[in-house]
């Protein structure tokens, strides 16, 4: 996106940066030494995310990311074996 274009347009899905809004992303690769991870959204777009607040993370983990920083991670009891985390629906949650 051009830096001149305001992020907040009428059909934008909330403000992911400064509002109290966060997005779910999946970890693709981890740079443990720097506390960073490349994460992707459901459409495949990827960004670099600071994961120091939720470390350690592994590829396949799902994170709640706000302003480029992961603030929550999928609870361990809801995570399957590492081999199951790359694809498929997550565990059932009853609202």
């Amino acid at each position: 996106m051009s830096e001149a274009l305001p992020a907040c347009i009428a059909d934008f899905d909330g403000c992911i940066t400064c509002g109290d809004h966060a997005v779910e992303l999946r970890v693709v690769s981890v740079d443990e030494a720097r506390g960073l991870a490349v994460c992707a959204d459901q459409f495949g777009a990827s960004i670099e995310v600071d994961v120091l607040l939720v470390a350690p993370v592994d590829p396949g983990d799902r994170l709640l990311v706000h302003a480029g920083t992961a603030i929550a991670r999928e609870p361990a009891e809801r995570r399957g074996p590492a081999s199951d985390r790359g694809a498929g629906p997550p565990a059932e949650v009853t609202p």
């Binding site: 403000c15 509002g19 109290d20 809004h21 706000h66 480029g68 009853t94």
Partner: protein, 371 residues
């Protein structure tokens, strides 16, 4: 983690709407405040308020950080942006927030190097790539965003990036809630608590609301089923004469919050003695500044900040909207002189703002109602 899917289930939503209908007492009017701008956005986007009985009213609180920033702080930021050699970075919302004499977008048009970033890390990257320039990050947001800024300042210090500073406008959620509860012109029955702020601070900071003011709080997620369930939980507390903090968003919010985030915030920030909030005035200990240990990265130390104080435009009633005293459409300039394209008030600038959320999603339903 399922943050989204089943929480948009129409059948579940319908069942909750019926439960809400059976929980309310006929003849009683309920006013419930959603504190967070993200909740306001979801309520209008998904038409959650259309599923509630007429006697359950949702009041939109001060939880949009862009909406509560006073015009003077924008002018201070613009003054720094015009400093020679400065690259001024901020989130997209801030570009269009009006100060007394234009916006950061206007400053960019006048020649200032103002750049939009998606995270503080992006701003730090710009500083690494431009060692001959000074990069300032305009930090804004509640406790959800503050850890991101704090971690970035720690990185800057660790890497010795001397050309990076932060103009800190981070605010805290509890003091304005207390100010609202002390306001004599406000009557509320309960609060929908901010889910992602609570992810950081936990549930404990909200205990004062039931303890000191006798109002229930339900910390809520952001999907329509989350919000309906939270309303139902508040109504159930009222019906059972209970008053406590409940956590509807337990799939994300741990009771103790994110301890690492709180530690890094305590290291990098310090409380300001007071801070001005748009529509609410000065509130004690309601905002953060860069701590003395990180003073080298504090833009307000490095630059001479004018400290401008500006009265809000008289036509704009953002203050009353933020306090929940009036609805967005009751403002004199809503949808006429003030629109997202030409915002007078900050509540119309950010999609988290009650006016913009209502303008984008709610006004058509209301037009149908009026007809």
């Amino acid at each position: 983690m399922k943050f989204v899917d089943e929480f948009r289930d129409a059948e579940l939503g319908g069942a909750l709407a019926r439960e809400i209908l059976s929980t309310v007492e006929p003849g009683r009017h309920y006013k419930i405040m959603e504190v967070c701008g993200g909740h306001t956005h979801s309520i209008y986007k998904y038409g959650v308020d259309d599923l509630l009985p007429a006697n359950v009213e949702l009041v939109h609180g001060p939880g949009c950080p862009v909406c509560v920033i006073p015009m003077g702080r924008v002018d201070d930021g613009i003054a720094i942006a015009h400093e020679p050699g400065v690259i001024f970075t901020c989130f997209g919302d801030m570009l269009r927030v009006p100060g007394a004499d234009g916006t950061l977008m206007d400053a960019k048009a006048q020649g200032a190097d103002v750049r939009m970033v998606y995270s503080p890390l992006d701003a730090l990257r710009i500083a690494r790539e431009n060692p001959g320039r000074e990069v300032v990050f305009f930090a804004i947001g509640f406790e959800t965003t503050a850890p991101s800024t704090a971690l970035t300042l720690k990185r800057a210090k660790a890497e010795g990036i001397a050309n990076f500073t932060c103009m800190c406008n981070h605010v805290t959620i509890v003091p304005p809630l207390r100010a609202l509860l002390d306001s004599p012109d406000l009557r509320l029955d309960g609060f929908i608590g901010p889910g992602h702020v609570a992810t950081i601070v936990g549930a404990r900071p909200f205990q004062f609301i039931p303890a000191d003011y006798g109002r229930p709080v339900v910390i809520s997620g952001f999907e329509p089923v989350d919000l309906l369930q939270s309303v139902q939980m508040i109504l159930r507390q009222l019906r059972e004469s209970r008053c406590e903090v409940e956590n509807q968003y337990s799939r994300v919010v741990p009771h103790e919050g994110n301890v690492r985030a709180l530690e890094v915030m305590a290291e990098v920030f310090a409380l300001r003695p007071h801070f001005e909030w748009r529509g609410l005035g000065f509130i004690s200990q309601s905002a953060l500044r860069v701590s003395d240990a990180y003073a080298d990265f504090d833009a307000e130390v490095r630059y001479s900040v004018p400290g401008v104080r500006v009265a809000d435009p008289k036509a704009c009633q953002c203050g009353e909207v933020l306090k929940g005293v009036i609805k967005p459409w009751e403002c004199k300039v809503f949808g006429s002189a003030c629109t997202p394209e030409h915002a007078i008030g900050t509540c119309m600038v950010s999609p988290e703002g009650a006016c913009a959320a209502y303008y984008n999603y709610g006004r058509f339903a209301r037009e149908r109602e009026v007809v």
